[in-house]
Symmetry: C2
């Protein structure tokens, strides 16, 4: 059977695969920092070269930012087609002093690879590439057509992938998009993610006096933007944490009973939440469990407030300005544009007198919901079960992956979110790591998926 | 007559006095920055040497921080005694790039001296010293005993002056304390300030999660300290700007009708307020004019809020912490310790669940009210009228000068606040300046005061 041969190959070449991954991780492809532009280019060439060497047709597509890599195997009309997506760029590394080892000198410790990009996303993406290798290097016929689109602007929010997808829906046409840039449910439990929250990220800017004023000389005579921003933010939510923006919940798709049952069976306790977050207790909207709020209820959170003096000790001023960043995580079927407009109108309506108020919509992402019943989803579940040797569960995700909405709307294909990382991988933080067992099982899962999707 | 001879001397030596002031201003005595410690010591020696050279008995008192200078003329029991207070240290200069000329290279332009410390407080203090010189260099008998206490920790909040005053009330005993560290009412109108607000400066610190959390992964599951700090601050004041801390207004001494009439006669319009502050409109407690709120109503103002991300663009986090600095400016007879305790209790009572809340009292100052009817106040009014050639008015001041409360309570003497500066002198800001006419008239006023206080 093909699968045995493929899995045996992966086991045999595991050490070399890890070594190669470490070579890739040594390239500091920080896309948001221009001093790393040459390195980011090298990381792009690394993956393009490897795919070309495997025998795929590879294009490096330069649209002005960091280039896209598009690659495809032979495309036969009698086979299903999978489009794999990933990214070769990584997050910045600061605060560098909190890293136990240099972020671009991979270290294997306690069966984990420590390096920036190890989990997000080079390590996870490499699972797909090495599974392909196991077929192609052995001359085993691929059960499906494979396409890959890999970007270098995921961490800096660049437009290349969005524009390219919108302009090339036929080239990227597929039966499913496969993305491994999320997580297992926990270390013992693989998962398919079938819903992502959307996002509506707003900035409120208040200006009052023309400069910071002496709080003795002018306190009590003019509106204080620091007080005013607090008044506005306090009116965004009630004491339970429910958002008070009019119409906010109107389009929310309620959870199905079977989803609530499935969530409940995962036994996510507040003790686990407290351990994961360090928060003193759980808090949020009445009538929903913590996991329901995390995965399927829209939220409204301050991401930052800045006004006046924030340093040590005292400075006696009435601040000239105040700014707040507020993000709303949206659930299916909320519309980010509609929510942004309602938010803007509401904030203006509750803004106290004596300050000028601007409300800007910094960016949006559409919420995503994928049918759990499709053949491709079932194929994904089978692949995870064989790859990880444990029964997978369906999960949702509170975060947003904006490109997923674009894939859905442009390609009309189901998106399979097969996360191989863990929520404790410290992505975007110091000491990012990827467990070797998850790398190994991720390679196995993709290998099995290439089989299972053929029947899916 | 003595006064004519003294005033003639001041006119004759004006240019030399300005040159000497510029020499003093060249010494960067920034007390809060330790790299200027040697300079601060030099600025102290400068004034000590000058007073010694005039014939006063001078002590430089080192209590561990920046030293105090105490000086006295011959003390005769048949004369009244005035204690002059001032400070030789200055504010930091940042943002340096906003200065039109280097802060410690005094420039005379448009009949003003531009330099850090020119108005606050070297220039104003120097008026007293040069008035003394006009008597002593000419061998004219002083009409009063003079004491001077000059500190170098005013701008860094050091304890030396407070401790010394508490420990040496007999040495500092006097019939009035004279302080020139405030302002005229406006360029045409000299003023005696008879009331200062007190201060109660609080810091609220909230901590929620153990680290900044991904707002997608954990939004809606735990309390957000950024939202929580806004809720607390919003509850501190009502929509009119009245403070909601229980008991806040209980001890407030209401304005007398004659004070309200006197304020009204000053014609301080909201147009002037808008021009001075750049604020779009006046705002504050109902039932009081702008000047009444500024000078005689207690306030509650945010001085700063900091939580999460305040930079450009978006960062999607639930912040781990939030901090707010809130100052309450107090009026006679409010008690800072009582207000601080009420504030702490109130904030804890309105703090939402899910965050730990600490409320710290960073510092306090007592409000000050001086009788307008005393002989010394009348002497001060006469001195200002002759010195500035214009009828002075009584004013109050929204700011706090903490040492005034200490002088009042330890020395039991009236405090005469004869400000020679202007509110537009940019003290604590770039391009600090002192109008030469105010320096000249300040010297004249002190000279006349030394006469008038003898009869006062």
């Amino acid at each position: 059977m093909r699968a045995d041969q493929v899995l045996a190959y992966l086991a045999e070449h595991q050490q070399r695969h890890l070594d190669q991954l470490c070579d890739w991780l040594r390239i500091p492809s920080i896309s948001s920092e221009s001093e790393y532009d040459e390195d980011t280019k090298r990381a792009c060439a690394f993956v393009a070269d490897e795919l070309r060497e495997l025998g795929l047709a590879v294009e490096v597509i330069d649209r002005g930012g960091h280039p896209l890599v598009y690659a495809e195997t032979e495309q036969r009309p009698d086979r299903k087609t999978l489009l794999f997506y990933g990214h070769y760029d990584v997050q910045p590394v600061d605060p560098l002093e909190l890293w136990d080892s240099p972020p671009f000198e991979p270290v294997i410790k306690d069966e984990r690879i420590y390096a920036r990009g190890s989990s997000d996303d080079k390590g996870q993406l490499y699972c797909h590439i090495k599974a392909l290798e196991a077929f192609m290097k052995q001359g085993i016929e691929l059960p499906v057509n494979v396409k890959m689109i890999i970007e270098g602007e995921e961490e800096c929010g660049g437009p290349s992938i969005y524009d390219y997808t919108e302009e090339n829906p036929e080239k990227l046409a597929c039966d499913a998009v496969v993305i491994s840039d999320t997580t297992l449910y926990n270390a013992e439990t693989p998962a398919v993610c079938y819903s992502l929250k959307g996002l509506c990220y707003m900035e409120i800017r208040l200006s009052g006096p023309g400069m910071d004023l002496h709080s003795g000389s002018f306190g009590g005579t003019v509106q204080n933007p620091g007080n005013a921003i607090a008044e506005i933010i306090a009116k965004l939510k009630d004491a339970d944490g429910r958002c008070l923006v009019p119409g906010f919940y109107d389009d929310v798709l309620d959870l199905e009973q079977d989803e609530r049952d499935a969530f409940a069976s995962l036994n996510y306790t507040d003790a686990v939440l407290k351990q994961e977050t360090g928060a003193p207790e759980a808090f949020g909207e009445d009538g929903y469990t913590t996991l329901e709020r995390m995965w399927a209820r829209p939220t409204c959170d301050v991401n930052g407030i800045a006004s006046g003096y924030g340093g040590d000790g005292a400075k006696t001023i009435v601040p000239a300005k105040a700014v707040a960043k507020v993000s709303m995580r949206l659930v299916p079927n909320q519309d980010p544009a509609k929510i942004a407009a309602a938010f803007q109108e509401f904030v203006q309506s509750v803004c106290p007198p004596g300050v000028a108020c601007e409300v800007e919509n910094l960016h949006n992402a559409e919420p995503v919901l994928v049918s759990r019943g499709s053949d491709m989803m079932k194929a994904g579940m089978r692949a995870l079960e064989q790859g990880f040797g444990a029964k997978p569960v369906f999960i949702r995700e509170g975060g947003s992956i904006p490109i997923v909405g674009t894939f859905q709307s442009c390609l009309k294909s189901p998106v399979l979110l097969l996360g191989y990382g863990l929520s404790t991988d410290n992505i975007h933080s110091p000491n990012e790591k990827f467990d070797i067992v998850n790398f190994v099982n991720g390679c196995r899962t993709t290998a099995v998926l290439l089989e299972e999707a053929a029947d899916g």
